[in-house]
Symmetry: C2
Subunit: 383 residues, 2 copies
């Protein structure tokens, strides 16, 4: 409809370069089929209809996905780059996930491995509101990686978790996060746990002149997340843990836009294999506004490769328009012994998260935490 198209702000005011984003899919396919497969994915992720069903010229010109390139990667494996219309994203983070991989996720021989976003989309979402500098301002930590420990196990009472937080804070840990499994369980409900832990951390900070932060886990609908953040904020909490694939990408994005608390993203339910980790846990979580992103470091309990982990760190910190860099948080089975290697690998702009391994020390937890802090603080050959 010409009238509609000419009054369409998306097509009239957005620069041509901003009209398309480029998604790259890794596709297992016989060579003779790959062109047809690529065309099919371009349709699936744009109009979800056969081309001959489209009678509107503007849609054919501006909305239908276009295959940009097909690159052989390996025998029977191709990277297919497809240009998709940015107007289909409609400024919503969940909708961007939908545009990138909504239906294609249902094809078990297709993985989403890359995305080039126009600056308009990057600026619309805006990235981290605190970023690495903001987290350094909040914690007062300069010139070294941050340290992070986790309140666990779930099932613990509020009193036990507060006591654990006190031990962490006294040992000099910078950020204490809830285990991502802590929700509103009866053993330590949010409304009871968060005030108690925050009080314990604040009292320790007051006593020792430290600036330890407590990051409670927020989960549920965005209404629920906002109620949890509001309560936490009223207690002086400045940072929260949020799992975007559990809560929805829109929830992360809205919380970042709100801008009241820094956000540590957790990879729960983020899968390992169908969206490349550097893209999901690096680029996309940063785009939507996470200030730090936890990922399972190679050599721990999970199956991410070293390359994937470095890719996440790179996506988190590389210059990207005016988006603040995001703090990479290697985790998932790390230990004090691995700190030098992690420091070497990730440099100073990172946060080292050690969870269960610290707790294994039981009665000697305090000593173990202090060893963790000392290992991170000791001078090293930082990149």
């Amino acid at each position: 409809m010409p009238t509609m198209a000419s009054s369409d702000t998306t097509s009239s005011t957005v620069a041509a370069a901003d009209r398309r984003l480029r998604a790259t899919y890794r596709v297992r396919s016989a060579a003779r089929d790959i062109e047809a497969r690529a065309q099919a994915i371009a349709l699936e992720q744009s109009i979800e209809a056969p081309l001959e069903a489209v009678m509107d010229r503007r849609i054919l010109d501006e909305v239908v996905g276009r295959v940009h390139a097909i690159t052989p990667i390996d025998d029977g494996v191709f990277d297919v780059s497809i240009d998709l219309a940015t107007e289909t994203v409609a400024d919503d983070a969940s909708q961007l996930m939908n545009v990138l991989f909504g239906n294609a996720s249902l094809l078990d021989d297709v993985a989403l491995v890359g995305v080039d976003l126009p600056s308009g989309i990057a600026r619309t979402f805006g990235g981290p509101r605190f970023g690495i500098d903001g987290l350094r301002d909040l914690t007062g930590v300069r010139g070294r990686p941050l340290t992070c420990a986790a309140l666990k196990p779930q099932g613990s009472t509020t009193e036990a978790l507060a006591s654990l937080a006190r031990t962490f804070a006294r040992a000099g840990i910078d950020v204490i996060k809830d285990d991502h499994a802590l929700a509103h369980q009866a053993a330590a409900p949010f409304d009871e746990r968060v005030p108690a832990v925050q009080r314990a951390v604040q009292a320790t900070n007051a006593e020792f002149g430290t600036r330890c932060l407590y990051a409670p886990n927020v989960i549920g609908t965005y209404d629920a997340v906002r109620r949890q953040v509001d309560l936490a904020r009223s207690l002086g909490v400045r940072i929260v843990l949020h799992a975007p694939m559990l809560n929805g990408a829109s929830s992360l994005s809205a919380l970042a836009r709100n801008g009241e608390v820094a956000i540590v993203a957790h990879p729960a339910l983020a899968g390992a294999t169908r969206i490349a980790p550097p893209l999901l846990l690096g680029t996309l979580f940063r785009l939507f506004g996470a200030d730090a992103s936890i990922f399972p470091n190679a050599g721990g309990r999970f199956t991410f490769t070293q390359d994937a982990c470095m890719g996440i760190a790179d996506a988190a910190r590389r210059p990207w328009l005016d988006l603040a860099p995001m703090l990479p948080v290697p985790a998932g089975g790390m230990s004090v012994e691995r700190v030098p290697e992690m420091r070497e690998r990730f440099g100073i702009d990172a946060m080292m998260l050690i969870g269960g391994s610290l707790l294994r020390a039981r009665e000697r937890l305090d000593e173990r935490c202090r060893a963790f802090v000392a290992a991170v603080q000791s001078a090293g050959d930082f990149r």
Copy 2:
């Protein structure tokens, strides 16, 4: 802490059988490692810490995941059943996803293939509020499958979509759903599209005495979803489309609890391979309250097997406590020609969704829609 434990309603008032849910994971592993792998998953999905880190007896007894059985499935493939504490679910749908597969999703050799939920959890979430009977009441359709068509492609103007809806409604389609890609795009923003399409459908219903329903797509944070539902309700809309893996499982569950509109679940971003489709698109979406669930039927554009599709239909409709049955909606590349086979396969308690294939008829769309409706209505050998 004994005081806490004894005042813990979860452990004191919940029947023993309700204290554990059983999740089953399919694990690729050498036979010699499978016991250790099973134990590791049991810890990962419960306390996310080594056993020796736990000093609280209650947690060891009641919260730590327990390996129930390890069953060889194939060479190097095992099904591992793990009993997880229901208290960890804390009545939240996103948290249930977290408990079932949060961290385990990061293990690329582990898939979630089954879950046995205690009746307490099933009743807490409550399942479909409308269910198959409710959808039959809303549409007035008895004794045959329902028909469904989709408003697409995205990029179309509101006027074009309303005109398409009019054609569908006049042809006798029962449910007209938005394409799952329709969000708040400038070409047809929600606030403009939904009133226009709903008016078109209502006018056609008034003219022909039909009861066609329009199901607009809701997307974004739960706040945004509620605003969209409120606007739609004010216009007389009774049913919406919701993609739980984009919006978050908590969003689906909250919308169902709210109970104002029937819900058609869409599988966008639901992946194909790491959570078994009958579990995710069948059992879990039903549990959280979807009244109908769209899935890519075998033989269409996607890679779900016939078994997976029948498994979804079975999970949707099987007797399950007092949870209403959910309507299975085979889709994803279906055509009028396939209606007899789909009718034969899924019986009358299903909704047949044909999308792009109808639009391919272009100027003969009306005729094609009427052929679809006739094919579904014609007497057949229903199971």
